[in-house]
Symmetry: none
Subunit: 210 residues, 4 copies
């Protein structure tokens, strides 16, 4: 408790914008951009409307800042994927595991996906930047792994423009969780999910002849 008191003016000031961004995330996720009241964001932080406007010029600005703020973990994921080693299969599994963890299992990223789908049309620049900074590099990474695997004879030949099929189960699980919000479609355990995912992805549905 004494420790809490130690929060000085200066520290408080550095904290405020983060607190507001956190609160904004919750409210925007709950009600969407248009449906969210700035006052509710403020209340969640424990300040008044006016304070929000001290830090963010408009509701739009706040929304954009919030999206940027919560996109940071995604960037870290990108860094990790560069340091993998092993066969193409092993590295692909690693990346897909990480992606699953980051997108489907992490509530923040999952809800970010909701906002991108729901509000993307109102913030096209934000979407474009996200595509360029997050989606495209990851897709490129997976593409190059597949190309490498095909070149080495590890993978069968498939048209590389469809590499999003490789990550499809991850995005699909993410979206289904967004829609049914764990009421329906309860989430089974991660290990089983990944095991089946990789089994299907690498071996296919058909029983092998012979």
């Amino acid at each position: 408790m004494a420790a809490e008191k130690k929060i000085t003016r200066a520290e408080q000031k550095a904290l405020r914008p983060i607190q507001i961004l956190d609160a904004a995330f919750e409210e925007f996720v709950r009600c969407g951009f248009a449906g969210t009241r700035v006052e509710d964001i403020a209340e969640r932080v424990g300040v008044t409307k006016g304070t929000v406007y001290v830090y963010f010029e408009t509701k739009e600005t706040l929304f954009e800042a919030m999206i940027n703020h919560f996109s940071v973990p995604f960037q870290e994921l990108l860094a990790i994927t560069d340091e993998l080693s092993g066969s193409a299969t092993e590295r692909l599994k690693s990346i897909l595991s990480l992606l699953y963890e980051q997108i489907a299992e992490d509530r923040t990223t999952r809800e970010l996906v909701r906002l991108v789908i729901a509000e993307g049309q109102r913030f096209p620049d934000l979407i474009d930047r996200h595509h360029d900074e997050f989606i495209a590099p990851i897709i490129a990474k997976i593409d190059s792994l597949i190309v490498e695997g095909m070149a080495s004879g590890e993978f069968r030949q498939i048209p590389v423009e469809f590499s999003d099929m490789v990550v499809a189960p991850i995005l699909t699980r993410t979206v289904l969780r967004l829609i049914f919000d764990d009421r329906r479609d309860p989430i089974p355990n991660k290990e089983a999910f990944l095991r089946t995912y990789f089994d299907l992805l690498f071996n296919g549905l058909l029983a092998k002849p012979g």
Copy 2:
């Protein structure tokens, strides 16, 4: 031409609600529930605000009616899937082809998916009803096909609770089109998509030994 002219009062009146639902769809898709103005819907029809309220009690009522109105084609899909014949593989391919056509390629269904993701939290009953009426039966259908295929030795053994992975590429393509709205990620031809989809789904990514 004379026939067209005959569309007078009585028919016009029967048409009105449909026109309003169509306009509502466009506006709700464009701006979301909270961001849409009833006046803009009216303007799109060429009437005034008041007229919308002649047919629909509130904006919420209109939204729900619109969702129901545009969910009809989906029901037809369900009927068709019961009449298929052939091997499990063939029937699965047929269902997935139909689903792809209906969900990823059809703009209306695609945008309905956006609304479900974006506004689902505000209209949980709507979502639940949709799950029960559309999603569950289709998943059940696919599940039973897979079970059947596994039983007959046509398919390998996979845990049936992950059957959504089978349709994942379809939902993924749908969502990516929603997000990037054909600016990025241009849609390749359908045949190539389905060919690769089925190839991967049935045979997997790995080169077969031998």
Copy 3:
């Protein structure tokens, strides 16, 4: 009273914007542009804020419309000045009498002058248009009269670019009334004002030699 009831919807609608413009005039005059509350304008009309926005998009729009509305009488003045006859002196007296009546004596125009001085910087386009449509033509008219009078030997030779000195007593009286608002500087009778004005203007202050 029955007559008042006769005001139908249609007539009421045609009246509303005028009522709002009248109320806007009073409030803008009283508090200036920034100091005026749209709600006070509405209250003066006996409607609510929202109604004002039915007719005028923004406070700025309303302000501009109000200025334009009340500038109309000024245009009529211009028309009259073209129909004068008599000597240059007589016509000049007629014009100056009209101007005095229209600018210094008419409360509406007088307050319009206040708004032009006070808010001109915020609405430069409005000011420019007024200059071109009202001020410039009147100055031109007076200029041409003076030139004509000088040519005919009726007037002494003076540099024509200073013709605003000829109307100076009118604008000065206007401004003084605006500043002291009849508390100080009580207004003497019009006839005496014009008599002295013309006497000084035509004969000057100095006693004539001889």
Copy 4:
């Protein structure tokens, strides 16, 4: 240079209020009382809002202090007029020349006139005090000069309550410059202005007979 550096704490503090008054003048002139933000005044000085409130209790207080501060030069003018000598005509010319210089040519006084016209209704006491301290004494001075000139036969007999006509070209020029802000109505040279002004004032517009 060393001297300039010496302006430290003590002198800085003595300077602050003046700096604030100067900044307040510019902002109040630009946006009017209601339209001016205290923050903009502070920013112009290079301090923060709070600092303004260290020196002035409220925005109103600041406005009034600013008006008083910039009215000082006017007082000096009054002193000078008492020391003139020569014929009534000569002294009148001197006074009018000084007035022209002080009111029409001096930007500060000119803008003060704008504020008096624009904000006078909100600050009636300020206006009254100004009338009593500046306007009335000057008008009185001119009145007495005219009376003296009439008594000595130098001037023709005119009703003395209209002496504001004598200064009208000065106020008129001031107001026109305020309205058109030198965009229209470019200012001709001072000498020509005064020459024509005095010529018209003393001799009138009419060609003298004989």
